[in-house]
Symmetry: C2
Subunit: 214 residues, 2 copies
């Protein structure tokens, strides 16, 4: 077992496996095979086995994988054995929805600060959190030890916010704004871009209309 050079695609799938395993664990299932996991998340069984094999030998030949055990392993691989304090920039409609989303804590994330630059919003509450002005960002990041920031501001402010986040020591950004952020190599960015995904749908719909498939 050696680490280093894990395909990005593998990491994304681990997340899916993890959720699937927690689902079946709730139903009381004790053992699963790679075929069951594969069916559950819509991939090839060999893929599942290969993905897991990057990190060790978790299964038993002839039997399969112990659900609880594998679930724990994957959570640890993904770093979810600890709680991650996250700062959220942008308290608009999307930002508010994210701030109030209960699903984060189930996956081991905790929003520790919500920031906005609109004086109208500052001081208001989102759940148990008060919306703070951006000047308080550095302070909160330091206090809480946040390494992750979520950007939920309009496109024209996103780059500026990104730089600010990097400036206060944030190491990873989840970007919901519809633009490409320009940050140093050392900062990890993941984009959640609905338009891009919607447009993949329209492209394919159009294709099917003009070209004959299978």
């Amino acid at each position: 077992m050696k680490t280093l050079k894990i395909p990005q695609a593998t990491v994304l799938r681990l997340s899916l496996y993890s959720r699937f395993l927690e689902q079946v664990a709730e139903k009381g299932v004790v053992t699963v095979s790679s075929v069951e996991i594969a069916d559950g998340v819509g991939v090839n069984p060999a893929q599942v086995r290969k993905d897991l094999a990057y990190f060790g030998e978790f299964g038993t030949r002839g039997v399969g994988y112990n659900v609880k055990e594998l679930s724990q392993h994957i959570r640890k691989i993904l770093g979810l054995h600890q709680v991650w304090p996250v700062v959220l920039i942008g308290a608009g409609k999307l930002g508010s929805a994210l701030a109030l989303y209960e699903g984060f804590q189930k996956r081991s994330f905790r929003i520790v600060g919500v920031f906005d630059n609109d004086p109208e919003k500052i001081g208001k509450k989102l759940g148990h959190l008060e919306i703070l002005p951006l000047d308080r960002l550095a302070e909160v990041v330091e206090e809480e030890g946040s390494q992750i920031g979520i950007i939920a501001v309009p496109a024209d402010a996103a780059q500026q916010v990104a730089e600010r986040l990097v400036g206060v020591g944030i190491k990873a950004i989840l970007n919901f704004s519809p633009c490409v952020l320009n940050v140093g190599e050392e900062v990890i960015v993941q984009n959640v871009d609905f338009s891009v995904n919607l447009e993949a749908l329209t492209f394919n719909l159009q294709m099917r209309r003009t070209v004959q498939f299978r």
Copy 2:
């Protein structure tokens, strides 16, 4: 120039090119090179040229691409020369944020119906749209000719909603719920999954702490 077998990755990038071109068009720029586009969206210039070459020869050697012209071409390739009527299921926090998001119309999408099964919400307004019960779905889809549905409901309802959408003739689904949908081959699904993306961040943060990079 032949169609068929366009890499999925190419389609996603086209969306980025499209947005980038509209940005620079607003600034009055007339011509761009593949290098400028590449820098703008963070990819390799050869990639840009290859992506575009799947669909024709849009550039002029020695000069570059005409911004307006290329922008139009790409919009057409993505199917954005027409307006797409979209139905949205789920009027919770996320659904509401999506219903009120102004960015969709800039990209040629129009939300034509918002649905929920919570009697508390039905009848309330989201912008100019009234929240409707799910029984009205078939009617709206038919009237508006929607082919695209957005799922913004909790995980435990998502599969059921997906089947309902397929049942009324929806051909493509943008899924915001944290689960893998099981629908027929003929339905196109794109998942927007924040947890998966967040967990890619934690994985990488953890990696960097334990393993030495470059």
